[in-house]
């Protein structure tokens, strides 16, 4: 779409885009190019020695079982976060869409976690599930389910999944609710007149109609689980016990900043960049579709 009415000036438009473009070049493009370049260098941790090694860092990376393990951990983590996060939020949105009394009160409470910063979320759940003093671990022990996320990898995974989902519920809930509210009431009424009960209506009408929202949220949640959950891991398990919760973003940081292995860390960044690019392309393909068929 183009504007008919335009202003003319030789220099003003450049001045207007300058701040954004300068920041983009300085803090986005230049570092991204650096990351690409460094990913092909072999460096010692003090920056004294470096050698151009082409794709050796990538070869080393994909030959490294701990990296592949981290990939698997991330995949499992994202799948759990996306699936359970969407399921819980959809359930809440469906019921919130149904009730009349108290609807806005429920909504206000359910959107609050969006404002809670991820580090607070992580520490909060760590406190609740801490093996020595957590109130929920106390309940679990009382129920005969011994709980210690510091030694048990599965428990650690459950901890970060629960924390990550808790934080993301608001976001998913709001989008599902908006999706549900945009379904024409006449469709639901017609089905009800034809004798379809609420459950049948949900599976044959509502769920198919909000599938674009569901797909969109699925992509957003995968991106969230891949990138935005660094904080939760850093505040709770530190990737442990062992490397059981070391997701990819955390590994980039711990290898590069703590371990001093710059080449490998840069190569991991590049792999992640490819992942983001793929996910963004998928997301935009979807947006195009929505525009066409809506």
């Amino acid at each position: 779409m183009e504007k008919r009415a335009r202003f003319t000036s030789k220099w003003l438009p450049y001045l207007l885009v300058a701040p954004q473009i300068i920041i983009t070049l300085l803090f986005f493009f230049w570092p991204a190019i650096q990351a690409l370049y460094q990913s092909m260098l072999l460096q010692d941790a003090f920056g004294g020695y470096s050698e151009f090694v082409w794709l050796d860092n990538f070869k080393a990376l994909f030959g490294d079982p701990t990296y592949l393990e981290s990939f698997r951990t991330t995949a499992l983590f994202s799948a759990l976060v996306a699936f359970f996060g969407l399921a819980v939020s959809l359930l809440l949105a469906v019921f919130a869409d149904r009730v009349r009394r108290g609807a806005s009160l429920y909504k206000t409470f359910l959107i609050w976690p969006y404002a809670v910063s991820p580090v607070v979320v992580g520490v909060l759940w760590m406190f609740l599930l801490s093996p020595s003093l957590g109130i929920l671990s106390h309940v679990l022990t009382w129920l005969g389910l011994p709980w210690d996320y510091m030694v048990n990898g599965t428990h650690a995974m459950i901890l970060i999944v629960v924390a990550a989902i808790w934080k993301q519920i608001s976001y998913n809930f709001l989008f599902f609710l908006a999706g549900l509210q945009s379904i024409p009431k006449s469709l639901i009424e017609a089905a009800a007149i034809d004798g379809a009960g609420p459950v049948k209506r949900f599976f044959t009408i509502v769920f198919p109609l909000i599938s674009p929202t569901t797909f969109f949220l699925f992509v957003v949640n995968v991106v969230y689980a891949f990138f935005d959950t660094f904080v939760i891991v850093d505040a709770t398990t530190h990737g442990g016990p062992g490397k059981d919760t070391e997701i990819l973003v955390y590994k980039v940081f711990s290898d590069g900043f703590k371990g001093g292995d710059l080449g490998s860390s840069a190569a991991q960044s590049v792999v992640l960049m490819v992942v983001v690019i793929l996910l963004t392309v998928v997301q935009f393909k979807y947006v195009e579709k929505k525009v066409q068929y809506a």
Partner: protein, 283 residues
Amino acid sequence: MIERRPLLDFFSHVVLVLGVLTVVFPLYVAFVASTQTAEQSALSPLSLVPGSEFVNNYSAVLFKGAAGQVTAPPVLHMLWVSLATALIIAIGKISISMLSAFAIVYFRFPGRGLFFWMIFVTLMLPVEVRITPTYQVVSDLGMLNSYAGLSIPLIASATATFLFRQFFLTVPDELAEAARIDGAGPLRFLKDVLWPLSRTNVIALFVIMFIYGWNQYLWPLMIATEPGMYPIGIGIKTLISGGDSAVEWNLVMATMILAMLPPGLVVVVMQKWFVKGLVDSEK
């Protein structure tokens, strides 16, 4: 309401109340722990009745800061750092995005497509994938441990630029033509016509961007190495770094409650704009 189903209505409320409890329970536990003495907050199981130390704990974290095994500045100072950074980020993002969207929509100039593309690509370069080299740039510019270093690298925004672009495209052409005929230049048009029209969009974006800025963690973790420049998130991390026995959970929880109040209030008070901002910025 399509049909009367009292049982289903009842069930709906049960599910929603459970959902709300899941959200509220952790916050309640945090609040209770923040009102107890250090010994009480380290008991297992924790008592779920608020303690007597509300005033003591909160005034201690707000004004004194932690000393001893871990050192962290007073929470009031860290809240100030967070507030300043979040405001610079939110206002910065909105201003530079509005200006560049204005240029891209209302002017035709060589390089327009290239600039638009460059802004778009930043979506694909989240800070997590360019950590080390971005840190390098900031450090070379001498921006470590400064408000500029904490905020400026984060204020480029593809989403805000898109949002303003979409909005400007819906503004009737007649307005710009009328402004031109009346002799108003582009900047005058931006200030007197577009700015007032964009007000709802600006508020909605502001809410989202403020929370984004407030909740930053990975970036300040690298850029702020001096306690004086710690935003509240890093402060919390520092408070729990002493190991299980050294952590004073009551003070940690008081700090966390204080950390979530400002963005929480913004979301609840500005709920309408918040929802609009969230939904719009993802279109």
